[in-house]
Symmetry: C2
């Protein structure tokens, strides 16, 4: 792709995302839905008889793919910055309960509901794999919806986010287990223990380093600052943690979220840029530039023509209903009083990145065929599109603990 094409496409993505976002906001729907729909419309423009070379270039562009990943990483970093480690630990127990229930319930429901599928039922490996695709809530979409509604700071918001991060970790462990099961025909117990240990070590190590080493390191760096160092430390921390998470087998977004949790404005109070910006204000313009790239590209990847088959639509609907009910159940297990269990359950509905990662790996393993792939994409999309209005409706009824951002 030439530089000129890149610049044009980037500008068009920004404009398309905002037009979609503004229209949705006018209709009282969170902006993220508009960005997704803008992407779907552009990505399926060939259905209306237009064949636009630029759209094709955008779909296959490596650089936009990378920038969209950077977008979701920055989104989780922002969300992490809005919370802090103490708050995250405080909501840790209900979040863990919700995460576990929200992984087990959809998994069992889909295995049980498999016989209602309108086509060949496949073998048990295929059923297990398809069920596993619906286990992990999308941290990116959940985070974005909560941000659009100004509810990241609410107790429900913190539980949803915590549970979404935890079930991403669980989801990736399940992926390792299920893949090994399919490839080797048996479960590799040592492998499961190893990936679990790495995840726990990474999260524990980040929390420890964030409490002990980081404040001191940033304090010393501050002596050398004459502008620009605050942003450099924040962004390099974010990217390094995302990289490290990937290295230990977790999703990069989990690392970015952890980086946001351990960084705090108080660390930077003697920095030059802290006079004009809080950490959030510094990261926001960068995040706002790249986050829409993620959602627009996610929409562009949706191939509407796959849903011309009635059997696939029926199968997709069954999968979606089971996936939704499975997550709604998860809120019930919260014991702490004063928490809106339905709001938490609704917040856990959207599936996203991890589901799509499952689908891609399943294709390469030969357990997910074209029909099932289309069904997974439908489920991801439907759960993403129904959540914002439902969550908005439900959160209206509970008091607002913070002003919208």
């Amino acid at each position: 792709m030439t530089l000129a094409t890149f610049l044009l496409l980037f500008a068009l993505v920004i404009i398309g995302a905002r037009v979609g976002g503004v229209i949705c906001e006018r209709l009282g729907i969170p902006a993220v839905v508009g960005e997704l729909v803008a992407g779907i419309v552009v990505g399926n423009i060939s259905i209306f008889g237009f064949h636009v070379d630029l759209v094709q270039q955008l779909k296959t562009s490596e650089i936009f793919h990378t920038l969209s990943e950077v977008g979701v990483i920055l989104l989780l970093f922002m969300v992490g910055l809005e919370g802090n480690l103490r708050q995250f630990v405080k909501t840790g127990r209900p979040a863990l309960v919700v995460a576990c229930a929200g992984v087990v319930a959809p998994f069992l429901l889909i295995i049980l509901g498999w016989k209602f599928m309108p086509f060949d039922h496949g073998n048990i490996h295929q059923q297990i794999f398809l069920a596993a695709t619906a286990t992990a809530t999308s941290v990116g979409i959940t985070a974005r919806v909560l941000k659009d509604l100004g509810r990241v700071g609410s107790t429900e918001g913190q539980i949803i986010l915590g549970a979404a991060v935890i079930d991403d970790v669980l989801g990736l462990i399940i992926l390792a287990v299920v893949s090994a099961l399919i490839k080797q025909g048996q479960i590799d117990l040592m492998g499961v223990i190893w990936i679990t240990a790495k995840a726990v070590l990474f999260l524990g190590g980040t929390a420890l380093a964030g409490n002990l080493l980081l404040p001191r390191f940033i304090y010393i760096s501050g002596r050398f600052d004459s502008g620009g160092l605050m942003g450099a430390i924040a962004f390099s921390m974010c990217f390094l943690c995302a990289w490290l998470a990937d290295v230990v087998g977790l999703a990069p977004i989990v690392g970015a979220f952890a980086a946001g949790l351990i960084l705090d404005d108080v660390h930077f109070k003697q920095f030059h840029d802290a006079r004009s910006y809080s950490l959030e204000q510094l990261v926001k313009p960068v995040a706002e530039l790249f986050v829409p790239v993620f959602f627009v590209l996610m929409g562009i990847g949706v191939n509407l023509s796959a849903f011309a088959s009635l059997a696939i639509v029926k199968g997709a609907l069954i999968l979606t209903v089971l996936a939704v009910v499975g997550k709604l159940i998860s809120g019930i297990f919260i014991k702490r009083p004063g928490i809106d269990k339905l709001a938490v359950g609704l917040g856990m509905i959207p599936r996203g990145e991890v589901g799509l990662i499952f689908a891609a790996i399943g294709s390469s393993l030969g357990v997910v065929d074209g029909n099932e792939y289309a069904m997974i994409v439908f489920m991801v999309l439907a759960t993403t599109l129904i959540t914002p209005p439902l969550l908005q409706w439900r959160l209206k009824n509970i008091p607002m603990p913070q002003k919208p951002l």
Copy 2:
């Protein structure tokens, strides 16, 4: 390149740039020199016996190349935002004089000085091409040095920037002429008129649209804003103008600079984000993330081992001296009183992007061989490295019209 590698490299580039920048600032040298030197050290690490695969990946990465281009585009956008159209037009006449003198003088000096070169003198086409590489001042480096010194707003700063933008346009016209001369053996007059007309039309059209249509368009957009629209408009304007400049045959940075000139804080006063940010404050965190990528990658591209040959070093020194003297002369032709002619001349010294574009095209045309390429790179680098301290020294003696940013 995997996402993990990209994240790691991005973090390392940010860290490397800041470490270099902080060391230079401590030594009283503008930060940009530190970023360049950090790049040179990393890029030539194999001389010290280290063979680092990551460095190789960074050198050849398409995505980092694109991001570095985005970096210099954002730098010029920022610089354009600091100025405005009226100020730019006010310094237009001295800037035009300086630009023309600064193109003609080095060109003639190098043609005349050619006989002192320590090797085969080549034919007249080669001499013309090598002379043409030294005509255009680097807007990127000039802008960055003036920013580092907090002097973008001074009269001298505005003249230097204006002249640097104009001589980029002149340089690209010369490139078209010289390339046609070499390929066809004669000058294509219609081609020259056409590229000149496009350049004038683009700049005039941008200025006109910026005065008449833009404020109205932004005002209407503002009614639909509920956050995020200010940044979306600013960045998409920047990228669209850069793209348009490329389409009409100018450098994208010229378009980005023009976009910055026509955008102003007053246009956005009813926008949501205008409460927390000025336009500059909004663009700054994004620019600070990507600008160092440009300078670090520029440094990484320098191959120090080419300078093991004494003849090349001698040739490079002669070329550099002629290039420096040619630009120093340019300040003399300013008629307006009260302007520091030496400061303007010093500010015009650095060569950069356009010189390197010349070198690359010359290689592909077969008129620039490996030795001459190394000499051009040396000249670009030397002029870039000597300017910051010289300009800083000179500007100390003239009164400061604005506070450093």
